[in-house]
Amino acid sequence: MTKVSAKKKQWLSGNEAIARGAWEAGVTVASGYPGTPSTEILENLCTYNDVYTEWAPNEKVALEVGMGASFAGARVLVTMKHVGLNVAADPLFTASYTGVRGGIVIITADDPEMHSSQNEQDNRNYACAAKLPMLEPSDPAEALEMLKQAFAISEEFDTPVLLRTTTRVAHVKGLVATGKRKKGPVPVAIEKMPAKFVMLPGNARVRRRAIAERMAKLAAFVETFAGNRIEPGDRKLGFITGGVAYLYVKEAFPKASVLKIATTWPLPFNLIRDFASQVDEVMIVEELDPFLETHIKASGIACTGKEKIPAIGELNPFIIKKALGQDTGEIFAPVEIPPRPPNMCPGCPHRGLFYSLAKYDVFISGDIGCYTLGFLPPLSAMDSCVCMGASIGVAHGMDKALGDKALGKTVAVIGDSTFMHSGITGLVNMVYNKSMSTVIILDNRITAMTGHQANPASGSTITGEPANAIDLPELCRAIGVRHVRTLNPHNIKECKKILKEEIERPEPSVIIAQAPCVLLPEERKRRKIPLTSILDNCTGCGTCLRLGCPAISWVPLTSEEAKKLGKKEKQKGHARISVEMCNGCGQCLAVCKFKAIGKAEDNK
C-alpha cells in the first residue's frame, strides 16, 4: 500500500480497498478460503492491527466461523471466490434466517471470462435465492465506502450482506480515499437468543416471516440509498447498469442518462420506474446473466438487454458500443502466433508425478490447483476436472460403474490444500464403499496456485505463525486406508514403481507425493545446482522434452548441421537446458537414457 501524499489518497486494488474498508468498519474477525480473484483481501487484512484473520479449510467453514463471531457481537468479514459460495451455500441460506448480532459481510468475487475459474456463474442469483441484500461496487474507491455501508445495513436490517466484486473490480487499482477505524456498535459477549439462532422448524417458521418483513423494509430503504443514483443526460437512451459495467457505459456513452445501481438486491423499483419515465428507451447493461433485466421486466418496466448485450464473458466499452451499433473504427486483425498457456514451473514436483502417471492406461480424475496444468501437452495427464475435491468422488463413481473391469483403471489426483478443503469426505466414502481406486495427494505444503496461502497441512497460519501441520498419512490411515505410501515425485523410478503397485491393488490406496513447491521462500533460497545438456551424447530422442519443463527446449538441426556436430544425418535436433531457468530437480536426468544430461558444474 502506497501513499500518494499529494492527493491524500492511496493507490489500492479493489481487494486492498475491501481490506481497508473492513478494517475501518471495525471488523475484528475475518475468515475465508483463497480463490482468484478474492485472495488478496485477507492477505491484506491480516497486516492490520486488531483484526483476527484466518484461512479456513473451506468456504463453508469460513462462513460458519463468521456466523459464530457475529452471534458473539463482532463485525465479521468472510471472503471467497464465486464458486466458493456454492460450498458455503448451506450456511448461507440459513444465515438469512438467523440474521446477525454483529454485522456480517460476505465477499463473493466473481470471475466473468473465467480468467482463473472453471465456470462463470453469476452470484447475483444467490442474493435473490437466499433472500439477502447484495451490494456491488464499480471500482476500489467505491468498494471501500460500500464495506462500511454494508456493515451498517447488516446490523440495521439483521441480515448478512453479500458484496459482489468481479475480476475487474478486485484486480483493478485506483485512487482511494481512506479514513479512520471505528468500533462496531454491538458489544461482544455471549447472548443466548435461541428463537433467533436455533433453526428448528418452529423457530425457523417465525424467522421466515421476519425475512419477508426485512426484505420489504430493505426494498423501501434502497429507493433512497445514495449509491443508487440517476445521472441525467441525453434522454433518448437511458442505461441501467451496475458494477464495473457502469464504468464501461460511462466510457462508451459519456452523454447518456444513466441509472447506476449499487444495491443489486433488492432493486429500487420506484427509482427504476422513475428513470424509465425520463428516457425514451431503457437499455440494461450488465455482465453475465440478465439479472437486472429479468427482474425489471417482471416488474412491468419495458427495457432491452441481452437481445443486444452479450451474456457470455466480460464486457468492455468496445463490446457495448458494437452491440449498440456504434462505430468502433477499424481494428487490426489478430496475427496467428503460437499460444502461450501457463505452465508448471521448472523443478515443479507435480511434473515428475504426472510424467510417471501418464505411462499407465488409467482415467486420471483431476482437481483444482496448479496441478490442473498437468492437463496440457506434452504431459496430457488429466481426464477430468470439475470442482474443489471432486477428483475423489469422480474416481470412485467411475470405479463403481466399471464394476469387474475397474481394477487398475481409475486414479484421483488432488493437492494438499484441496484435499483439506473437500477431499477428505470423498476418501471416507471411498473406503466405506470399498473402492478399488487410488488417490494421489500432491503434497507441496501450500496452496500454490493462488499465490502461497497456508493451509491446515502447511504448519503455519495466515500470518506465518507456527501451527499444527496435519499428518496426512496418519489421517488417511485413520479413515481406514490400509495402504498409504509416500514418495518423492522427483524420483521418477520410485514414482513409477509405487504407482504401479497401488494402481493394481484391489482396494483403495493413497499415495502421498511429498515435495515442496519450488516457489516457497525457503526453496528459492536453497542453492541450486542446475543441469545442462551434454551435446555429444544427445541423440535427439525427445524423452526429456516430454516432461514439458520450461527450462528444456528443442534445437532443430539440418542434416549438414547434424553431420558437423558428429551426429547421424537423420538426427533432427537436440535438447538444450537453460542454466538460468533450471533448478536442478533432476527429473530430466532420471529419464535420459543416453547420459546426455549432467550437472552444469561438471560440464565446464
Binding site: T2, V4, A6, K7, W11, T36, P37, T39, E40, H115, S116, D139, T167, R168, H171, V172, K173, G174, L175, V244, L247, Y248, K250, E251, N316, P317, F318, T328, G329, E330, I331, F332, A333, P334, V335, I337, P338, P339, R340, P341, P342, N343, C345, C370, L373, L376, P377, P378, M449, T450, G451, G542, L545, G548, P550, I552, S553, W554, P556, G573
Partner: protein, 192 residues
C-alpha cells in the same frame, strides 16, 4: 503531450511487468493525474502471457483499454507484442524488447518461433522502438533491470518529467537503485 492516454504492458510471467506498470502509474499520479490499472492474477502467472492495462487522464472511468485504443504498447517479449496487435491503432507507439521466450509448443519443437515479428508491426505503419533490454541491463551491471529500460523508453512520451520518474524510482526501488536508474536512463536515450 496528451494529458490522457492508454498504455498496454505485455510479456511473459516473471519479467517484471507489474513493477514496470506500477512505477509508471506512480509517476502519472505524482503529476496529479487520475489513473486506473487492470491486471489478472492467478492462472496468468506460471509463464503464461501477462498483460496490464494502464489508463490515465483527468478522470478515468473504464479500467480496460478497448481494442484499437492503446496509445502505447510496452512489450517485454517480441511475440507478445504481436499478440496484442488488435489493441493498437495507426498512431500507436510500440516499445519492444527483442528478447524471445519460447512458449511450450516452440520449446518442444512442435511449432517454430515466428520469424519477422517486428515487420508485422512496421508493415502496418506503427512506430516501433525495439531494444535489447537484456544486453542494456547487463551493461548497467544488473540483468534484472530490463523492465526499467522499457519504462525509460516509454517515459519520454508521457506528460511526466524525468525528475518525477527519478523521485518515484528512489521511493519504490528497494535495492540496486543506481543500476535501476542507469537502466531507466539508457531506455530514455532510445526514444528521446
Amino acid at each position: 503531450m496528451k494529458p490522457s492516454g492508454n498504455i498496454l504492458f505485455c510479456g511473459v510471467g516473471g519479467q517484471g511487468i507489474l513493477l514496470a506498470s506500477e512505477i509508471t502509474a506512480f509517476a502519472l499520479l505524482a503529476c496529479g493525474l487520475d489513473a486506473k490499472k487492470s491486471e489478472v492474477h492467478g492462472m496468468a502467472q506460471r509463464g503464461g502471457s501477462v498483460v496490464a492495462h494502464l489508463r490515465y487522464g483527468k478522470k478515468v472511468h473504464s479500467p480496460l483499454i478497448d481494442p484499437g485504443q492503446a496509445d502505447f504498447l510496452v512489450a517485454f517479449e517480441t511475440m507478445e507484442a504481436v499478440r496484442y496487435l488488435p489493441f493498437l491503432k495507426k498512431d500507436s507507439k510500440v516499445i519492444v524488447n527483442t528478447q524471445q521466450i519460447a512458449p511450450p509448443s516452440v520449446a518442444t519443437g512442435k511449432m517454430a518461433y515466428p520469424a519477422d515479428l517486428l515487420s508485422q508491426l512496421t508493415s502496418r505503419g506503427l512506430a516501433v522502438y525495439s531494444l535489447d533490454g537484456f544486453s542494456i541491463a547487463k551493461g548497467v551491471g544488473e540483468i534484472r533491470t530490463a523492465n526499467l529500460v522499457l519504462v525509460g523508453a516509454l517515459s519520454t512520451f508521457l506528460p511526466v518529467g524525468e525528475e518525477v520518474f527519478l523521485a518515484v524510482l528512489q521511493e519504490k526501488i528497494p535495492r540496486k537503485l543506481e543500476e535501476n536508474i542507469a537502466a531507466f536512463q539508457e531506455g530514455r536515450k532510445i526514444t528521446a
